[in-house]
Symmetry: C2
Subunit: 95 residues, 2 copies
């Protein structure tokens, strides 16, 4: 086990609720989790964050800092192109 306080959930092609569950399990152990995605998965990362924030409204976790960036990836034809990324922090409410 690491002593980092930030764990990361990387959004891919699984059903949304798989990532919601994974983030909630991590949040039981650490105070905040980062949800990361790039390219076409960015919208799904926002969905996951919103589902967690909405379903735990009273309990509760809230959305923290949101960062966007871009990464240079090499595509299959050998050319490099920029892909947008997002990182959404989910943390325990301090109220």
């Amino acid at each position: 086990m690491s002593n980092e306080t930030h764990d990361t959930v990387f959004i891919g092609k699984k059903p949304l609720m798989a990532y919601v569950t994974s983030a909630l399990i991590q949040l039981a152990n650490v105070p905040s989790v980062n949800i990361k995605a790039r390219g076409l998965s960015i919208g799904r990362a926002v969905d996951v964050a919103q589902i967690i924030a909405r379903k735990t409204e009273n309990a509760g976790y809230t959305i923290g800092e949101i960062k966007i960036d871009s990464e240079l990836l090499e595509s299959q034809d050998g050319r490099s192109r920029n892909v947008s990324t997002i990182e959404i922090e989910i943390k325990r409410s301090t109220s």
Copy 2:
């Protein structure tokens, strides 16, 4: 003309550069612009913000506050469902 200092670019199905141009034109007149999108267009909103930030790196505009939320929309079958939204502020660099 309004005296608001925040203008908005709503991301839809046009080519990305149409929104980049539209945002840059608004930024010539106001200090900050919000780029808004929902659902499947969220990734494209991040792309537009990143293109502006990257291409004007020295000039320059930077990414400000980013907010995510969800809206209740009625789908065609009459049921209501939540759609995620994003709002990305682009503003003049203060450096």
